[in-house]
């Protein structure tokens, strides 16, 4: 049996025995479904629909695809292949937070990239252009890690607590959060009124959430001659920005502050001035030698970036997106796409969850099953699952590891199974 067949059988076993852990979603019969099967060539079968929840579950236990998606949108004819004839009825607001799309410091410890043309490789996020041959296509190995995932979780909380609840007054019950099964979280807002927003209107919300396309001029924040403390009560982004500046200035000791401010584009002289006049400088910006509007606006931009949520923008704007189905397995990790209540999310540890009900590492249940694998990639970073670290590995390493770790490495395509008889 090939490894792919083996994985498929494991997935099938899950879908047959654990159907009760696959929740029905709202208006299931009006959603479009998409599946990626266990083939070599990765093509998504789209435009599939189900009359009801039972039919969907039957499909899963019969075909057990590698990846399972459903649309944020509702349609009259979800299975029509022509987008214009689907009978669009509205779309939930989808938010994707994935560490693939933002910088995390630990990526240099666990992410690798290879230039597809000249083979040059490096650590961390792939550059825009290969430093050796200027080619812009890379193969990358993006690894899963606790630190990255906790940064992604912070972003989800930032989104909910700094934006969706206080500013938009979204009902908590309308927020559906899931761990994506890989490197992030998805958030869905199920609200009748929001469903009817157009792409352009969604863009407005996205800008608000990320801080993109803000105008400091309109908000009065770029005026060095005025007392910016006066603006601290202004609803919306103005308040966020002034409060953030004040909070940073008061919370951090001077030596840390120096680094932060210089990272934000201020020079030594300006920083000195600010540190000497911590409680007053926002009303005296014009007094600061060397501080022009350009430098100040650049500083504001950095603050804004810091405050905004790091979401994958196209996902929230595109009304025809498909998103992973809750309770399904992620075909690149073997982890479950785990639904979470907001209180569960607070203590949730994707790679070491003690509450079995919400543990995404479903194959860890079979504790005693061990698999012998051989590493295929030149370099495979280490991974810490269930409190134990596996790897790093080099090509050719052979090891006996628990089933859930083996599934992860096989799904990632960096290892193959070795039967015991081999040696």
């Amino acid at each position: 049996m090939s490894d792919i067949d083996y994985l498929k059988r494991l997935f099938q076993d899950y879908y047959r025995k654990k159907t009760n852990q696959i929740p029905p979603i709202d208006s299931l019969n009006q959603r479009e479904f998409g599946f990626i099967p266990w083939d070599d060539i990765i093509i998504m079968n789209r435009h599939i629909s189900f009359v009801n929840y039972e039919a969907f579950k039957n499909y899963l236990s019969k075909f057990s695809p590698r990846h399972i998606y459903s649309s944020g949108a509702l349609y009259n004819n979800p299975d029509h292949t022509d987008m214009n004839k689907k009978g669009y009825l509205g779309c939930d607001f989808l938010i994707d937070i994935d560490v693939d799309h933002f910088y995390t410091p630990c990526k240099k410890d666990h992410d690798l990239w290879y230039c597809k043309k000249c083979g040059k490789n490096g650590i961390g996020m792939a550059p825009n252009k290969c430093p050796k041959c200027e080619n812009s296509q890379f193969k990358s190995l993006s690894w899963i890690c606790e630190k990255c995932l906790s940064l992604a979780k912070n972003e989800i909380f930032k989104l909910i607590e700094d934006f969706l609840l206080p500013d938009f007054k979204i009902n908590k019950e309308e927020l559906k959060v899931v761990f994506s099964g890989h490197r992030g979280y998805h958030l869905k807002i199920e609200n009748e009124k929001i469903r009817n927003l157009s792409g352009a209107e969604r863009r407005e919300i996205v800008d608000y959430l990320t801080g993109e396309n803000i105008s400091y001029e309109i908000l009065g924040l770029n005026d060095l001659n005025s007392n910016l403390y006066f603006l601290e009560d202004n609803y919306g982004w103005t308040k966020k920005i002034i409060n953030k500046i004040k909070k940073n200035i008061h919370d951090y000791p001077n030596d840390v502050l120096k680094d932060i401010l210089s990272d934000f584009g201020l020079n030594r002289e300006i920083i000195e001035y600010i540190l000497n006049d911590k409680n007053n400088f926002l009303k005296n910006l014009w007094k600061i030698k060397g501080l022009g509007e350009k430098t100040w606006v650049n500083f504001l931009k950095n603050i804004t970036k810091n405050l905004g949520a790091k979401i994958d923008v196209p996902v929230s704007i595109d009304i025809h997106r498909l998103i992973r189905y809750p309770g399904s397995l992620h075909g690149s990790t073997g982890f479950r796409v785990q639904e979470l209540s907001l209180s569960e999310l607070e203590t949730f540890k994707p790679l070491n969850e003690i509450n079995q009900e919400i543990d995404p590492i479903v194959f860890a249940e079979k504790k005693d099953v061990k698999i012998k694998i051989e590493i295929l990639e030149n370099k495979v970073p280490s991974i810490k699952i269930k409190g134990k670290t596996y790897g790093p590995y080099n090509k050719g390493t052979i090891e006996i590891i628990p089933l859930h770790v083996a599934v992860f490495l096989l799904c990632k395509g960096v290892a193959k199974t070795r039967s015991f008889i081999d040696d």
């Binding site: 206080p166 007054k169 927003l197 209107e201 919300i205 800008d207 608000y208 396309n213 603006l231």
Partner: protein
């Protein structure tokens, strides 16, 4: 200022107005039109309607001869029917602009209660009235502080619906005070949003499609009015006729993002700030003459020849660079996927680099098209030889 009972006649676009005055309006507008033109008001309504059109041709902001009476209500319907029959987008946009502006000025005279009533009871918007007023921030002038206070806030979704076509920087959600699901705004701004509603309303075809246009044209008074408007519009249109790039540059080589802006402009639709910048820098980069660029903007509802000439010249001196595709994508102005344009989605094959390359800017799109065109005509001439 009108009291509550008059609102319906003052603002014919209100849903209750239509119910009150047209509850027995037949599906076919023919009956309505023949009634009007056989009655005693025929002359006055023709004159007043023509005034509106004339002012719209000239992009005026207001009409002197505009009264808030019952006739005003009939006139609203008549204008809509005329616009449908004339079927000219540029004209429709101009009339819609003017008509909405007139209503804007009238609404400014209304008291808070009426505005609240119009928003909530009539238009089904979730607007809240704050009798005591709420301070939503401060303004800072030099070193003086001034509170900003309002009696109105609007639910953010209704806000987004109303500003959907405005999308200038001031209306962007991020640049507005949002708290607890509501955007705080001054009464004047709220009325500005109602103006948008009116503008869209007049463009909307609610009267069942006019299938028998000839029937209408058989009604004498109506035909005369229509011909009068058409003739006057034709004269005016020749003067402002949209500039077609028929000089050295072939506009058919422009990418989808640019084409979209061109067709909007052609219909006299307002362009948002970033759209204006994009087309301006793009045309400058292609060395389109300044006068022609100014002509391009002449269809804008807020066109001002002097100002535009100054701005175009200024941009030329400064030598700005055209936006990159990447930026246009983030500004939501890229049309590559919507229009399924191959060069935009798949790129082109670069012989020098022996690889498929993505295009990086709308200018590059033009270059690729021009290059292909030259190659094709060369091939053709080869065959001829």
């Amino acid at each position: 200022m009108s009291d509550n009972f008059d609102l319906a006649s003052h603002y014919p676009w209100l849903p209750s107005s239509l119910i009150k005055y047209y509850s027995n309006l037949p599906d076919d507008p023919k009956e309505f039109i023949s009634e009007i033109f056989s009655s005693t008001i025929s002359e006055e309504i023709s004159e007043r309607t023509f005034e509106i059109f004339k002012a719209a041709f000239n992009n005026l902001e207001n009409v002197v001869y505009y009264k808030l009476d019952k006739l005003n209500v009939y006139m609203y319907l008549l204008i809509k029917i005329l616009l449908i029959v004339l079927n000219d987008k540029l004209l429709t946009n101009r009339v819609a602009n003017l008509y909405s502006k007139i209503n804007y000025y009238d609404l400014l005279e209304e008291n808070d209660y009426n505005i609240y009533h119009i928003c909530n009871e009539e238009l089904n918007l979730n607007v809240q009235y704050l009798p005591e007023g709420e301070v939503y921030g401060n303004k800072s002038y030099e070193n003086n502080q001034q509170q900003v206070i309002t009696n109105f806030k609007i639910f953010f979704i209704d806000y987004l619906n109303l500003v959907a076509n405005l999308r200038d920087e001031y209306r962007k959600l991020i640049n507005n005070p949002l708290s607890n699901g509501f955007v705080f705004l001054k009464k004047k701004t709220l009325i500005r949003l109602l103006q948008e509603y009116v503008r869209n309303k007049i463009k909307e075809v609610e009267i069942k499609e006019i299938t028998k246009k000839d029937d209408l044209l058989n009604i004498k008074g109506f035909r005369e009015l229509l011909e009068k408007i058409s003739a006057a519009w034709k004269n005016r249109k020749d003067e402002i006729e949209y500039y077609e790039f028929d000089g050295t540059e072939d506009a058919s080589f422009y990418p989808p993002c640019i084409q979209e802006i061109r067709s909007k402009a052609k219909e006299g639709q307002n362009l948002i700030h970033t759209e204006r910048l994009l087309i301006l820098w793009f045309l400058l980069a292609l060395n389109v003459p300044i006068e022609d660029i100014v002509k391009f903007f002449s269809t804008m509802p807020d066109f001002d020849q002097e100002k535009t000439t100054y701005q175009v010249n200024f941009a030329k001196r400064k030598g700005y660079k055209v936006y990159l595709c990447e930026t246009l994508k983030s500004l939501d102005l890229c049309r590559a996927n919507k229009d399924k344009e191959k060069i935009c989605t798949e790129g082109y094959y670069s012989k020098t680099q022996e690889a498929q390359r993505k295009i990086s800017s709308p200018l590059q799109y033009v270059h690729v098209r021009q290059h292909r065109n030259r190659r094709e005509s060369k091939n053709k001439s080869n065959i001829n030889n």
